[in-house]
Amino acid sequence: MSAAALTPRVRTIVICDDVSASLTEEGVFTLEGVRYHLTVSSLPWRRGLDLFLLLSSARQGEYSGRVLVISERTDKAVRYVKFLAPFDEDNQLLVMYVELGECVFPHAGQYSIEISFSSGTGSDALKGEHPFFIVLHEE
C-alpha cells in the first residue's frame, strides 16, 4: 500500500493563536485568533505560528508528521518542523494543537503550510496544504 493510504488523514487545518477545551462539554474546543494572513510593518518578520489539526487514522500507531512553511515566491521552506501523532486505536479521530515555533517571513506574499506523514516503510505523503499570506503595511 502507498504511504498516502497508510498514514493519517488531515481533516482540518486552522492557523490560530490558541485553543481551549470546553469545561462543560467533552470534546468541544474554542479557537482564538483564527487567521489566514498576518499584517506586518517591516520585513523580515518573525512570529510564532500554531496549528489546530483534526486528524484521523484507520490504524493505531504513532505517526511521524512534518510541517513545512513554504514561500510560494521562492518555493523554499522558511520553517521545517516535525511532530508525532499518537493514535491509541484504529479508526480514531485526534485533535492536535501543534506549536510550530518562530517562523521568519522574508517577504510579503503567499506562503503555504504543508503537512506530510511518513509511513513505517520510510515513504512520505503530503496530506494537507493551507495558504497563508503576509501583508506589508508600512506606516
Binding site: R66, V67, L68, Y80, K82, A85, V95, M96, E99
Partner: protein
C-alpha cells in the same frame, strides 16, 4: 460502489505538542529533494490528463 463501514463515534481528545525544529542540513536537503520530486510527478500527471 464501495460500502462504507459505520465506525462508532468516540470523542476526540486534544493533544498539544511543541513541534521539533529540523535543523540538520542533510535532513532539510532530503526533504527539499522529496518536495521537488513530488512536484515534478504532479506536473507530469497534470500534463497527461
Amino acid at each position: 460502489v464501495s460500502k462504507k463501514t459505520d465506525v462508532p463515534f468516540k470523542i476526540p481528545r486534544l493533544v498539544r505538542v511543541v513541534a521539533e525544529e529540523i535543523t540538520d542540513p542533510a535532513e532539510r536537503a532530503a526533504i527539499d529533494r522529496l518536495r521537488r520530486r513530488r512536484k515534478r510527478k504532479l506536473a507530469q500527471q497534470r500534463k497527461k490528463s
